[in-house]
Symmetry: C2
Subunit: 764 residues, 2 copies
């Protein structure tokens, strides 16, 4: 509690901060929730997609005649059925891309650019007939040499993916030549050379990270129906129904009003379900066949042809004074965009050094096309790669000057007003508070102990920064005649946001949270609501819910004033009812006002819309991790793991902890196991969960979450987004722990046994 | 155009008054629209209802053991599974009833009260297994004598349906005795005896009308799922999803927040889908079985066990002076309520003489239980029966004093300020305007000509009055980024109200109506919206749409003011965009404001809720009809038919005309063909459309609609409800035409060939 007499006492909450059972929980654990692939319609056809067996090839011809002749086949589409789409320069947000490229990614135009690239699609009376028909479509290719590595793709003699691609930014002399480098972005603050001159110790290293997939359980899916007047309806698993509507409209050249998108329940997204793959195909096939059409990906399709996040090559140079002041950072980052431009490399550059107050910074970011699937967003896109590089060098610098790495971080912690490399200054952030919490933690003071035989123990720590997003949201709250409330938003619920939003409505209206019924509406039934991503739903949709509740409360006051025949200024909503300020003890509960609403003017419905850009609170996370390294096999086990995060205010602490734990686990998988393995011709060799190795519960200790709450002053409850930043620190934290255990620095992800063994053998 | 300089020129409309194609038209004509029976869910069970073979019997026992043992049977329910429900006195609106009675109508409690009364329900893996199981349920009955006729039911020695029923109103001495008369209501204005004393001619007659069904094409249906936490979802064909929610909650003892109701497309209702039958059974069976359950009625179920409208017995006495002033009316009306109290007899009494300015009126209304299905609302409930009596006597009085019947009506026409028998005075109405339009019509001056052989021609006219309803509605309008709009209401669309509502939104926002996408939401997704009934949707939901559009326009002005950095008072929305009042030529179109909404504060969503009770405009209708009577067979053919109606303002004239034509046709069926035929034991003998004879297109001439627009001053566009009143006049108009042709008065409905022949044989 604050003791500053100028500050208000913190608000006491009744619902916020508690841990109610989620409203959608029973539906989900009993298998009743309707996911995209569960949707069925009368006369439904099933689709299959023909995919490229090559990583890079020119399409010479597509012969669909044999497939079309197969009984049961109702429609076949190729890129010839897609309208030409013009380039659009303005960005769409994370994971987005140029609509012309998006169109070509949905169905390859003149070239296939990665193994699994969609070439054609067919709809038939059963999935089996569709698969057989897909096999009968003859595609003639001229195979071209692929380029799979970001450095190889930047070489002067590299095979070129896009003959018309010219580098934006960077050296103007090179701007006229075809290139795989889509964009070069430079950020600089201070005087980097002077910073290094002032340093006592300087370290410069290069790092590599592998392309990794979000690994959501539910494959992509789409069901579409198209009426004879062209009106299309789509059901799909997506993080943003309005984005699906917008992107499909762009790719298909339709007005928004011709499209209605119903977001089904979603079995994980983590950024990967923010764009479209199957949806336009389902619409085209439904339009061509006159039947509704369903398309569902296999796991192989998901891994080969949806958007993982970038592998990268990063060079970082940092300097520190003997007394522990970080003086300069200079970095270049090259990220795989995949087949079309649009990696998160700029965001990686912006996030890299943002946990630190370093006066002199320079970052150069390269967005590079390679013959891999077009990347999509993945939890704090770009930041994890960058943190792996920067946070291990900080660790090494600390050890070099003999300072505790946590103390070095605390001494250089970013704070309100610290400028970031891309210009803006930090707002109120919880970086220092997080580091102090880590220093004070049980974990920090627990002895490591010794392992047996060839096993060595170590402890590492790293931090991570993520902007979080604001964007637009809408909410409506209807008060039912029995005093319960229905809450409608447009935010597909991935992480429990139905409940977090219902809790905020319940808090404002003085209702038990069980009496607020949250639902997620389709694009025709709620105001525009941007993607569930950027950790924005509880922040921004929550803000819309808060504002909609104020609208309800204002109306409740009006109704009470009308009932008491007094001025609205003479009444006040408080704690689930309206009090008269002039008549002692006169009070109308929400339930009473709801019951009488018909007589006082009709139903009570509150609504609000927001653009929450100014309400964003940035996120800091940290991980402290103990590992055991088997020095004979190179195997690394995580034995203890604590995740720290400044969440602003935890609306539903259990779900916040779930986000922290989930991000940590994904970061651990990225650190130790996961990678896309291509052969030299660019064929993905591990296109299933047996070979694409994600950590499961047996691989991990309990992840201990430590919530730090430094309120975001731009949000009524102090909320910051919590969904992403916990993935940022783990690879660096584990690398630091491996170094602590063995003295060896592993500079490539994943830190798989062969890489660890190699590092042990070359350690200085 | 008004020439009064004090009056504003009438508003010029751009969209209102045009005839666009309905938004749901393609879906409906191509069979894609999803009606209740089209809904399917994984694991769906099918239900069957056991119905009473007796009209009146005590249930001694129900043995479900054999049915339960049948493989595939998953649940069986009887009235023992329904909670006890207390009486509620307050009325729910048209067609509503006491919740205890409603519960007993859904599953018979201790007695069955009509042939087809539901006794038990079963859910099984297929409709066939369910039907077989229903046949295995053994119900032991003690058969009681039935009473089917309203006069017999009022007799002192009548079999009593409800031992606990005491008459409300009427003679207080009789109030203590069990009775089939649920309520006696008396209305009186003026001095009736003095009125008759002043009359030169007095006629008194009695009339009978048969019980008739709405005859909607789509049988009742319900699909329900119940989650393990008790959360229930219902899909059904209904005129009011919120009413289904409310009534199910009452009957099942659930809070509203445990129920979500999705209104499916509806294949006709006409008042008959304003209550519940299958919905609670589907919920109980789904809860008991753990599976979703679907129930669909057969046509026989619909006719035997849903709510038709009352047959009735009516006595009317009216007086007129020689110069054509109606001096008094005295009437008693007894209406069949069916098995439970709640006929529309009070409304019949209130409407009967309301087209006339008669100073002295007395009406006594009897609500009478009989062993027939509980009646429900049917288009202008109660008014048609009453008009048949009153409007034929007016015709006869006119002929008696040698005055043209239309002229007698015009001379005595009700007008603003005329008191009605139940007290209130008419507001601005179009009664006189309608009569003048009828007098001026082509039809009125067209020669009748002569028919061949035994066929005789005649022309008749009658009027009808209906209150119309207001009630509560909600609407939201979301502006999409491309400048199109999504409109959400909670009014199931029976008569084209999606389009009429979209037209009003388009009118206000300056959009083409095709760019407004209307949809009908479920009970969780829109504010409370009362039943689609009482001709209220275009009036009341339309008012909410109008107000929601004002909310949008206000926000558009705010956004423009923010863009121009000026005060909101300095901008004005006009014709699809916002003009600056201070900067000449500065203008932002809706599309431009929509595209930039993110930057000016987020999405634009307007909402409004209304209780439209004060906005109701009452309806007058009239029918002029030519008939040919075959005096040898008694067959009556309608050869020409013109329908006149004061609609206030026709938003979509084609749909208004459709309502006028549809009501006229139903009135003609009621007049000539339709009736429930019971045998002496109370078994319905004509429980299918082959035997329950509704008119089809071949039976009818083109119905010519004449729209009269006398604006309702309490509505922004002058709208009155248009859905009901056109059914009121036809039976009387046809009776008057038969009398004109033959001199014979038929005083019972239907005026079927035997009745017409009988009247011809007894004519004076």
């Amino acid at each position: 509690m604050s003791t500053n007499p100028m500050e208000e006492a913190p608000r006491e909450y009744r619902v916020i901060g508690t841990r109610p059972i989620r409203h959608d929980g029973i539906d989900k654990v009993t298998g009743r929730a309707v996911y995209g692939a569960d949707v069925s319609l009368p006369g439904l056809l099933h689709g299959s997609v023909v995919r490229s067996p090559h990583a890079h090839a020119r399409i010479l011809s597509i012969d669909t005649s044999r497939a079309a002749a197969l009984p049961g086949v109702k429609a076949i589409v190729t890129s010839a059925d897609l309208p030409e789409v013009r380039d659009r320069e303005e960005a769409l947000g994370e994971g987005s891309t140029n609509p012309r490229h998006l169109s070509h990614n949905i169905l390859a135009h003149d070239k296939v650019l990665y193994h699994g690239h969609a070439v054609a699609a067919v709809a038939a009376t059963s999935p089996h007939v569709a698969a057989e028909a897909a096999g009968l479509i003859q595609v003639e290719y001229e195979v071209l040499p692929p380029v799979l590595d970001v450095r190889a793709a930047m070489a002067d003699d590299a095979p070129i993916l896009h003959a018309d691609l010219r580098t934006a930014g960077g050296d103007p002399k090179k701007a006229g030549t075809p290139s795989n480098v889509a964009m070069i972005t430079e950020f600089e603050i201070g005087d980097v050379e002077a910073g290094f001159a002032a340093a006592d110790e300087i370290i410069e290293r290069t790092f590599d990270t592998a392309m990794v997939h979000q690994g959501y359980i539910e494959p992509h899916n789409a069901v579409a129906k198209v009426d004879p007047d062209g009106q299309a309806t789509v059901w799909c698993s997506t993080q943003g129904a309005f984005d699906v509507r917008h992107l499909c409209a762009e790719v298909l050249g339709l007005p928004l009003s011709k499209l209605r998108v119903y977001p089904a329940e979603i079995g994980g997204g983590f950024g990967g379900k923010t764009t479209i793959y199957l949806e336009p195909l389902a619409i085209l096939l439904a339009r061509a066949s006159g039947h509704p059409v369903k398309l569902v990906m296999s796991r192989s399709d998901v891994l080969r042809a949806t958007g993982p996040t970038s592998g990268s090559h990063i060079r970082v140079k940092m300097g520190v004074t003997r007394d522990g002041t970080l003086t300069a950072v200079d970095a270049s980052l090259a990220y795989e965009a995949g087949a079309y431009p649009g990696s998160p490399v700029r965001m990686g550059a912006m996030c890299m050094a943002s946990p630190f107050a370093i006066e002199n910074q320079r970052m150069v970011a390269y967005d590079v096309c390679v013959n891999r699937p077009k990347t999509a967003a993945y939890r704090a896109p770009g930041a994890t790669n960058a943190a792996f590089a920067c946070e291990t060098i900080v660790d090494e610098l600390a050890r070099k000057i003999g300072m505790d790495p946590l103390e070095l971080r605390r001494k250089n912690a970013a704070h309100e007003g610290t400028p970031m490399v891309h210009g803006p200054k930090h707002r109120r952030i919880g970086c220092a508070e997080l580091l102090e919490a880590a220093q004070r933690s049980d974990h920090a003071s627990a002895p490591l102990g010794n392992a047996d035989g060839p096993r060595k123990r170590g402890r590492g720590f790293a931090t991570g920064y993520w902007f979080n997003a604001g964007l637009q949201s809408s909410a409506t709250i209807s008060i039912n005649p029995d005093g319960t409330a229905s809450l409608v938003t447009g935010s597909p619920d991935i992480g429990g946001t139905r409940t977090s939003c219902a809790m905020m409505a319940a808090e404002e209206l003085g209702l038990p949270v069980e009496l607020v019924r949250p639902s997620v509406a389709d694009t025709d039934s709620i105001g525009l609501t941007d993607v569930t991503g950027g950790s924005r739903v509880t922040l921004a949709t929550g803000l819309a819910v808060h504002d909609a509740a104020q609208d309800v409360k204002r109306q409740l006051c009006e109704r009470a004033a009308r009932t008491w025949k007094c001025a609205i200024e003479e009444v006040r909503f408080d704690d689930g009812g309206v009090d008269s300020l002039v008549q002692d003890g006169e009070r109308l509960s929400l339930a009473e006002l709801a019951k009488g609403a018909g007589r006082t003017g009709g139903p009570i419905v509150g609504r609000a819309t927001v653009n929450a850009q100014r309400n964003v609170g940035s996120a800091f996370g940290g991980m402290m991790v103990d590992v055991e390294v088997d020095t004979e096999t190179g195997r690394v086990d995580v034995t203890r793991c604590t995740v720290f995060q400044d969440v602003g205010k935890a609306i539903h602490p259990a779900y916040v902890e779930g986000q922290m734990q989930g991000g940590a686990v994904q970061g651990i998988g990225w650190a130790l196991n996961e990678e896309y393995v291509y052969d030299d011709e660019g064929h993905l060799e591990n296109d299933g969960f047996l070979d694409y190795r994600m950590p499961v519960a047996l691989d991990l200790p309990m992840i201990e979450p430590v919530i730090i709450e430094v309120a975001n002053p731009a949000h009524p409850y102090g909320v910051r987004g919590v969904g992403e930043v916990s993935i940022v620190a783990p690879p660096a934290a584990i690398a630091n722990a491996i170094a602590d255990a063995t003295g060896a620095r592993v500079e490539s992800l994943p830190m798989s046994p062969p890489r660890v063994l190699a590092a042990l053998h070359t350690r200085p």
